[in-house]
Point group: C2
Chain length 327, copies 2
């Protein structure tokens, strides 16, 4: 089993690589080879006995996609992409990487010409949806993104479905909800506070809550994100049918419920490090986002997320903080 | 008022050009210039006093889109495209023309760099929908095309919405239902019989009905198609909002009702020229198509189609047969 991961140096990429290295298997088969590709050098995981190759590549550049496919990986996790904020501020880059990069990779597969048809797992996003939205959003609701990032995801979802229908790839698109708690430094994404209000207090730092307590969002842990990817790789064409793009499940809760979960898991002193400073700019952005999803198909196909936000807090402490936090 | 029409030599393009030439105006303004572009030489209309330019171009070829925009047309009707059947049999050509050609045109507008922001009317198709579908299909149903043609339409609808949101174009996508009665020779499209069973008997010829009487479809006349385009050109951004892609209205009726309408309009002898020869291949394709649509938004925005299939038959006799048929 040869696995290719694009965007392997990103947050979800690293979680996936660690998980694959730990289990050493995918779909019950031993991983002989792991190819990690990213625009920055991906770090090879410890503990995997198979062949590991790290490649620093710019996917839409001529020949880059073809080079990744020479050894014909059996499973491709396509995570590479420019994030939402950057795709909005740098239009050319967003379309080049998120649309052309993905299309180039799919076309390189199509053009292999030797019956090559890998499993292809594409990370899409709930950014494919745009307000006004029903709450919860059903699986058959139309995609009306309000960002260029979401638009690029819609376009590749459609292309992936067509290429799967035509038998060039065995594709599945998974729309990730908010991934919380994101480890690392705070970033400037409007959604950053959903993670920061948990991560920063656990590190002994103050965090700003820019929206009211009743703002709702759907969350899954980085561990669940890696789990979605692995589960998607095991689904058959017969299970998927022609509608291969799936909205992943998650925990829908309010910001107030997030804080209450933090209080239950880590105590009052930790929760008291959150300061409420309303930010109308962030509030306005968040209002355009979907709150919750039925995710009926994904659940029926066996995708699983956490059941409570308490679990999400505990997973962060366990996976990213080595079990300890600043009480 | 300068108008550019791509795909001007096609059936709907010609109907639109004739109509614009007849009225000499669009949105209440005199048409000073009409640029007709197509891969085959478009025929200039009679009767328009303004400047008419015909251009034979391959839209995705380097520089072609830019050349069309030098005189900065105020309104662009983008009808150019490879049809459904050809996009399915020639994948490269379909993506090159329908996806890359349209994107090239939109990018050329974006890159004009002088505040240029034309009205852009894109002809999409109900091929963006794919079975299983509710009947009628509501406006907010997701797009799951089952053809490469439908996929390309989905991708450009998304791009057009994003570019409109960002202020590069003032876009509107109109999803055409079955356009009936198509004038001219029978073609090999699976949908061809919907027109052929009306057109051929009126010309004194036998026609084959390959599906049972109860097969339903939604139809609008070529006159309505031109009307949709002209109406779309008059809609404001405020009226459209961010959801600029609209499912056009039409007459939903069964094949049996089509034949009954032909009998009412043209008599029993004409209707008797239809022979029922079941074709399981065509039947299977037609089963994947949507039957009817609510078209709530389009109707609320003032788009109008025929109310009965009798009208559609009469329009064909009137517009394409000079008022006469073989009784």
């Amino acid at each position: 089993m040869h696995i290719l991961i694009t965007g392997a140096a990103g947050m979800i990429g690293r979680k996936l690589v660690e998980r694959l290295a730990r289990t050493g298997k995918l779909n019950g088969k031993t991983i002989d080879k792991l190819t990690l590709a990213d625009i920055v050098p991906p770090e090879p995981p410890k503990g995997l006995s198979g062949d590991i190759e790290s490649r620093t590549i710019d996917l839409p550049a001529p020949g880059a996609a073809e080079a990744l496919l020479i050894a014909r990986p059996n499973v491709i996790f396509h995570l590479a992409g420019v994030v939402s904020g950057e795709a909005e501020t740098d239009l050319e880059k967003g379309y080049r990487v998120n649309l052309d990069g993905s299309r180039t990779l799919l076309d390189a597969i199509r053009n292999a010409g030797d019956g090559y048809c890998p499993k292809f797992i594409f990370t899409s996003s709930i950014a494919v949806f745009g307000a006004p939205l029903p709450d919860p959003v059903p699986d058959d609701f139309h995609l009306t993104p309000l960002t260029s990032y979401g638009t690029q995801k819609v376009m590749i979802e459609a292309l992936l479905a067509d290429y799967s229908r035509r038998g060039f790839v065995d594709g599945v698109g998974i729309r990730l909800p908010g991934i919380t708690v994101r480890p690392g430094k705070p970033n400037k994404a409007a959604s950053g506070f959903f993670s920061a209000i948990i991560r920063e207090p656990l590190a002994g730092l103050e965090a700003i809550q820019p929206v009211p307590d009743d703002v709702q969002n759907t969350h899954a842990s980085p561990r669940s994100a890696a789990g979605f990817l692995i589960h998607a790789a095991g689904l058959t064409r017969a299970q998927l049918g022609p509608r291969i793009n799936l909205t992943m499940p998650g925990v829908c809760c309010s910001v107030g419920e997030q804080v209450a979960a933090l209080r239950r898991v880590a105590g009052e002193r930790v929760a008291a490090r959150i300061r409420h400073v309303p930010d109308p700019f962030i509030m306005r952005i968040v209002e355009g986002w979907p709150r919750s999803f039925t995710s009926d198909r994904a659940r029926a196909l066996g995708f699983k997320a956490e059941n409570t936000f308490d679990e999400i807090v505990k997973i962060h402490i366990d996976e990213d903080l080595g079990g300890r936090f600043v009480a």
